[in-house]
């Protein structure tokens, strides 16, 4: 059995080697070469000294932060209210359904909605504000990115809220806490793991939404993802593209380290002590 | 004595981390009998069962099935079947499919499978449940399906791993009767693992008391109850008053500062021993007539008897089962017969113990 099991696992291990480890090694290796395939640290030097790159990175981080914050602000109450509804499975399905519509189609819808003569501007004209340049602005990028990420934030938070033992809320009320106190001292701390999972699910992709910056942001917003895409697909400077890629990977690990469940770690430590 | 169906010879089981689960286990299992492996959790009793079933391997020693060594025979080729602790019924199959699982693997004809499955369900008193889902059954019904699934394959030995532990008290007692009856009807060997001494005493032809990976004592329920080999067995099986004592001579033992006549012999003069007095062997009488005098401390009504705790002048606690109540704070006398006193030697091996008992019982 053991041998046959090993045999069946071979494709999986090949996958790990070829599509998990090798790409990471290759992107690191590529970042250390120039266009003439020579070993060099030049890309990192360029990145570290160029105000354009640093500014772009900070900008990308800032936008990712904004997208995450706005999404969280909208999603937490939505998830909370959702958990109080009847027929939750149906409503949940309705939250998930838009995520199955191709992202490009949703972006395309906003091109129509936000265009100079689009419905939003018609509405603005109607209420007397007059048409505005909506498309190809920072705000439109934020709006569309937030729109796309909302379901990915609602779901983990919803799951965390549903897992919450209702007896704890009753206990808190029983001990004299008001609704707000119960929320602040019991519900929120216990659902923070869902928030962290949501932040992870939203923040990292937000660093790399290059198609939105192209279609909606009109190249006014440049994210790390946009820069990578440009270096790989347009200027063909794979070395520099990989360097930015490595920066993005490092940021990803930082975010994951920050949002990893601390409680879990503490539990592991306790286990060790018991053993 | 019939030829043994299963023999364990010098079985030792050591895990990779150095933990010894079983050391030098020797057992002889005869066909058609009901055996219990009785011991506290972690004693190794389930490991013995898993060895016989083939789910785990012995580090050394031999397992014989009808005289053939089966150490390396995989579980699916052994002529034993198991009733698992939490039943291990396949949740994706219904009752019929669960019971038919083994027969389907043997590629029996459809009609035969149907007949045998329905017969087995009838035998465990679940006729008409064939097409139920497992999740729809109560614990007791799942238990019966698990038994049917095992016996439908007509094993020569049925292994039962604490099968009653998940049931409530009343159901457990009913199942004890049923299992015993089933075993007598099928005339196959049952090896029953339990930590419940009452269960073992009620059902078994023979009990193996297991602790710390060793078999401490084996014998009929009456033998083990009446003549526990040591402190552990006396304590684990039934309730006991266990006191330090000294064997003055054959049939004469001293404890709590008094000398009593007893039924034990074959020990060294003045050997330090332990003395067991079962609570139901102690009779309450007046303080003047008692061989011992205790002061009643607490008394609980247990339904069929009163459980009295008395304290003697030396401060020893005495557990007494009495059909009549006594008042607290009162001095009472306790009497008992010489054969009610069970004397245990320290560190006596089972073989020596049996030999000694045989020797003076012949007198």
């Amino acid at each position: 059995m053991k041998q046959s099991k090993r045999f069946f696992m071979i494709p999986y291990f090949i996958w790990i080697g070829l599509f998990v480890i090798a790409p990471l090694v290759l992107i690191l290796y590529q970042s250390l070469t120039n266009t003439q395939h020579q070993f060099t640290l030049q890309n990192y030097a360029t990145y570290g000294t160029s105000t354009t790159y640093l500014h772009m990175s900070l900008n990308s981080l800032w936008y990712a932060f904004l997208i995450t914050a706005i999404t969280l602000l909208i999603s937490y109450p939505a998830a909370y209210f959702l958990s109080k509804l009847k027929h939750q499975q149906l409503w949940l399905l309705l939250i998930i359904l838009p995520t199955w519509i191709n992202l490009l189609l949703k972006a395309y819808a906003f091109i129509g909605l936000l265009s100079r003569t689009g419905s939003v501007n018609q509405f603005l004209t109607f209420v007397g504000i007059g048409p505005q340049q909506l498309l190809f602005s920072d705000a439109s990028f934020l709006l569309v990115a937030t729109y796309i990420e909302i379901p990915f934030m609602i779901l983990p938070i919803y799951n965390a809220i549903v897992e919450l033992n209702p007896a704890l809320i009753n206990a808190s009320r029983d001990l004299g806490a008001t609704n707000w106190q119960t929320f602040r001292r019991v519900i929120f701390p216990l659902t923070i793991s869902g928030v962290k999972a949501g932040v992870q699910a939203v923040f990292i992709p937000s660093l790399s939404l290059f198609m939105l910056t192209r279609l909606i942001g009109g190249n006014r917003v440049i994210t790390l993802g946009t820069a990578i895409e440009e270096h790989f697909m347009t200027t063909m400077n794979w070395g520099m593209g990989s360097t930015i890629g490595v920066v993005l990977i490092v940021m990803m690990f930082i975010i994951m380290a920050l949002t990893n469940d601390r409680r879990k770690k503490r539990r592991e430590v306790n286990d060790d002590e018991e053993n | 004595m019939a030829a043994p169906i299963i023999e364990l010879q010098g079985i030792t089981k050591t895990y990779d981390d150095g933990f010894t689960a079983l050391s030098n286990i020797n057992m002889t299992i005869e066909p058609g009998k009901f055996y219990s492996l009785l011991g506290p959790s972690g004693s190794g009793k389930t490991t013995i069962l898993r060895l016989i079933a083939g789910f785990t391997n012995a580090s050394s020693g031999a397992i014989l099935f009808e005289g053939q060594k089966i150490n390396d025979l995989p579980a699916n080729q052994r002529k034993v079947n198991t009733v698992f602790q939490n039943y291990a019924l396949f949740p994706h199959l219904d009752v019929f499919e669960n019971v038919a699982f083994g027969l389907n693997l043997q590629k029996r004809p459809k009609a035969e499978i149907k007949k045998r499955v329905l017969d087995a369900l009838k035998l465990v008193q679940l006729p008409g449940y064939a097409n139920r889902e497992i999740s729809e059954l109560s614990g007791g019904q799942q238990q019966r399906v698990a038994i049917a699934r095992a016996i439908v394959n007509e094993p020569k030995v049925l292994l039962l791993d604490e099968p009653l532990s998940a049931l409530d008290m009343k159901l457990r007692q009913d199942m004890q009767y049923e299992l015993r009856e089933l075993q007598q009807r099928l005339k196959i060997t049952f090896i029953f693992v339990t930590h419940d001494q009452e269960e073992a005493l009620a059902m078994s032809d023979e009990i193996f008391v297991v602790n710390d990976g060793k078999i401490l004592q084996s014998g009929t329920p009456v033998d083990i109850y009446d003549e526990p080999i040591n402190h552990f067995v006396a304590n684990f099986i039934g309730e006991s008053n266990i006191l330090p004592g000294e064997m003055l001579a054959d049939y004469q033992v001293e404890f709590v500062g008094k000398t009593f006549e007893c039924a034990d012999a074959g020990m060294k003069p003045n050997e330090k021993v332990e003395v067991v007095l079962r609570p139901e062997d102690l009779d309450v009488t007046t303080a003047e007539q008692g061989k011992l005098v205790v002061t009643v401390d607490t008394q609980l009504f247990r339904g069929d008897h009163f459980e009295i705790i008395g304290i003697d002048d030396d401060g020893n606690e005495w557990l007494i089962h009495s059909t009549n109540p006594v008042r607290g704070g009162k001095h009472i006398g306790l009497t008992f017969e010489p054969e009610d006193i069970h004397v245990m030697r320290f560190g006596e091996k089972e073989a020596d113990f049996d030999a000694r008992l045989e020797q003076y019982e012949e007198d």
């Binding site: 209210f81 109080k84 290059f210 890629g245 | -």
Partner: protein, 274 residues
């Protein structure tokens, strides 16, 4: 009472925001006018245009072929991967394997796309159908593992012992106990892999050459050129398809559940009749 109202209003708003762009697209797919601004009259013309667009139909077929093939391979490889991970005794090996498994789950699409592009060029694999298929298999495997693994972990080892005890060989234990037990996990794994593949844009964008295109990439390049109501029609069709998928998935789940119920009722009536 007031609070309930607020929460309902809030949720309704969220749902409206989530669905406005989608229905907006679908609505204008029936517009006689050529844009998404003024609805001038009802027409099926854009759908006719879509269904007679040979290039688009080939792309749709290619997209589905990639989705089906990649999710099939990913499901097989991922299921064995999950079984293998669960079978590891050492906790450290397990978590190391899981970490490696999850790398592609948390990596941004751009990184996956770029690094796969480097990989394919390093291996000398030409860009096109093959590279896209390989990439889709690769990024779908971890989600299959993550969906199958809980079912494998849930599997009581006593069930495997029970199968052996009843005479099952290793293969029979695998096919008759393990696989049926973890089937719901395999099923959702396949399903998720399928939707991942249909949805993907960024990775495909990097690893597809000039000769091969999927729907997402095609929409991207057309959207960059501006509004075309043929895309609206396409999005309406895709929305309908997603809806069908959801409903189908829901009913398949329900069906496998109710099939047993029905059997039981049938059996019951048999018993009462006899």
């Amino acid at each position: 009472m007031k609070k309930i109202k607020f929460s309902s209003v809030y949720l309704v708003l969220v749902f409206i925001i989530l669905y406005i762009p989608i229905f907006y697209l679908i609505f204008y797919s029936f517009n006689q006018g050529g844009n998404m601004n003024h609805f001038t009259g009802f027409t099926w013309a854009h759908y006719q245009e879509l269904f007679s667009d040979k290039r688009m139909l080939v792309i749709v077929l290619d997209t589905f072929l990639i989705a089906i093939l990649s999710s099939l391979f990913a499901t097989i490889i991922g299921t064995f991967g999950a079984l293998g991970i669960a079978g590891r005794k050492s906790q450290r090996t397990k978590s190391a394997l899981l970490t490696l498994n999850n790398v592609l789950m948390v990596s941004p699409d751009v990184i996956i796309g770029a690094s796969f592009l480097i990989l394919f060029s390093a291996l000398g694999i030409g860009l096109g159908f093959g590279s896209v298929l390989l990439s889709h298999i690769a990024f779908s495997i971890p989600i299959v593992v993550l969906l199958v693994l809980p079912k494998v972990n849930e599997l009581d080892p006593a069930l495997l012992n029970a199968a052996q005890d009843l005479g099952a060989t290793n293969w029979q234990t695998f096919s008759r106990v393990i696989v049926p037990y973890i089937t719901p996990g395999i099923f959702s794994g396949f399903f998720m892999a399928f939707t991942y593949s249909l949805d993907d844009f960024a990775v495909t964008f990097f690893v597809t050459g000039n000769g091969f295109t999927t729907l997402s990439v095609e929409i991207y390049s057309r959207a960059r050129q501006g509004i075309s109501l043929e895309i609206n029609a396409l999005s309406a069709v895709m929305f309908l398809f997603s809806l069908l998928l959801v409903v189908g998935y829901y009913f398949v789940n329900r069906y496998s559940h109710s099939r047993r119920q029905k059997q039981r009722r049938h059996a019951k009536s048999e018993v009462t009749l006899s």
